[in-house]
Symmetry: C2
Subunit: 296 residues, 2 copies
């Protein structure tokens, strides 16, 4: 069986995994998704966890990306340094089983004091470029647990910076003094989110702004039910403020889950920047298809 006859692409993250059977034509023939992220797979049990995917989607070659290639995953696929394009990723694929099972490496950036790493986003970013959805020179914002601001030049990732926006909201909602005001409430675009964005774009440091979210509710100056959207706006506004300060001209391509990209697009608009939203899953499939072609 050859890769051109079809393969299975797996986006295997920390807390869940998504797998797609891609046919010879490039079309998605079948898919699965479950909560079996790498942290739920005991050491030594990855072969069995992969067999489960093959039982569901068929006995095809496997191309896997994401945290499955980290030191907590199946086998570590060392980071490819910037500048990194699809050819560089393909040359550094980690073959767990010769010609049958490959893990895509992550990408690292190192310059002076700056240091950063990504795993999983690179397939989406370079897939969108290979598919023509973003130009050869572009600024991309990729929200998620760890938002990435990425500079792409000549179709390669040349630099990037991670901002802990998603994880910070989760920490605050689950474990902080704000948790009773943040957990359970839905984050939605609207006046409270917009007010938070403005505070993030123009205000002081986050640690100073956050406590006042609680104090304003206690003193009757803000509504408790607005706290989650306001805080999300505050975090995203802070993120966008530094992101656009470092970004070049032109639109910012915002790639990821639609519920997140629309929030970042709203904050970018408030910052006076044009945003173009792209669906992350679709970009992942593009990247996987192009990598499979390069494998031939």
């Amino acid at each position: 069986m050859r890769w051109r006859d079809g393969f299975i692409a797996v986006d295997w993250g920390t807390t869940n995994r998504r797998a797609y059977r891609i046919g010879a034509s490039g079309a998605v023939e079948d898919r699965m998704e479950d909560g079996k992220g790498i942290l739920s797979v005991p050491a030594g049990c990855f072969p069995a966890a992969v067999e489960e995917i093959r039982r569901r989607l068929g006995d095809r070659p496997l191309l896997m990306a994401g945290m499955v290639g980290s030191n907590r995953g199946w086998e570590e696929a060392p980071y490819v340094p910037c500048p990194a394009g699809l050819p560089e990723l393909c040359a550094q694929l980690k073959w767990v089983e010769p010609e049958r099972v490959a893990i895509v490496p992550g990408v690292c950036f190192s310059q002076g004091e700056a240091a950063d790493v990504m795993r999983g986003e690179e397939v989406q970013l370079l897939g969108a470029y290979a598919d023509g959805a973003i130009p050869a020179n572009a600024t991309v914002c990729h929200p998620g647990t760890h938002n990435k601001w990425v500079r792409i030049e000549d179709g390669r990732i040349v630099s990037f910076r991670t901002v802990m926006t998603g994880e910070m909201f989760s920490l605050l909602a689950k474990h902080s003094i704000l948790s009773d005001m943040l957990s359970g409430a839905e984050v939605a675009p609207g006046p409270a989110f917009d007010a938070g964005v403005q505070a993030g774009l123009t205000g002081g440091p986050l640690t100073g702004e956050l406590f006042s979210v609680r104090a304003r509710v206690l003193l009757g100056k803000a509504r408790r039910e607005d706290a989650a959207s306001y805080t999300s706006g505050l975090l995203i506004g802070t993120d966008v403020r530094s992101g656009v300060a470092a970004a070049g001209d032109g639109p910012v391509y915002v790639m990821g889950r639609p519920d997140l990209t629309r929030l970042f697009a709203a904050a970018l608009a408030a910052a006076g920047r044009e945003a173009k939203e792209l669906e992350g899953d679709e970009a992942f499939l593009c990247g996987a298809r192009h990598l499979a072609e390069l494998v031939q």
Copy 2:
């Protein structure tokens, strides 16, 4: 029994409590400390928890400050608005038992969009002023779970701002992707702390700086054992950066636990500001004594 014959001062916080028997001369005759913070006292059980203090320290009038006066404590003592001095606090004491048991109210600040609250720090702040340890017009930095930057004018608290520095470090050490690098390691002054302070004083937003702590270790550009001190410096430097930007001229009085005040004093020095450290427990006793005199 009258207050001038002595009383018990209690600093009753969320997770622990400290009580002091203060004699007619003002000297501390006995003291106790335990982990019975307000969150560990079931509703309706505060009288019993207070009896425990009296059994240990004697049957004296009680003056209590801190979260015991919050809506999660024994009885809510409403916030006194700024400007607030010891006379204003005394006038708004919440008498749980007439002439025998009083809770000191917290202080609130509200101006335009700004809103803030404190509970417990006010006794230390105004006690230090009443005792002559800080002048009538001063900027005070009070580190703790929630650091407070306080402006005192004519011996009254006129404005303040809370920064979630201590709680943020705790959240990151316990629950974040940085936890394996932060928990267990000791935070100490030194080159790693100083480097974090510089990043906080001059760098981008915290959420952007934090992830690079991990990435630099992964890429071999920083030592894992330095991560806790660096991150503490980063948080404190960020805090001091906004604090001194809003502070008036003159020294900054840093009041609290000595292990924290020395870290903030080091960061203030790096920011080119003179810092004077004051012991928080001592200031609490001063404030309690002066309030007891006003009660007469």
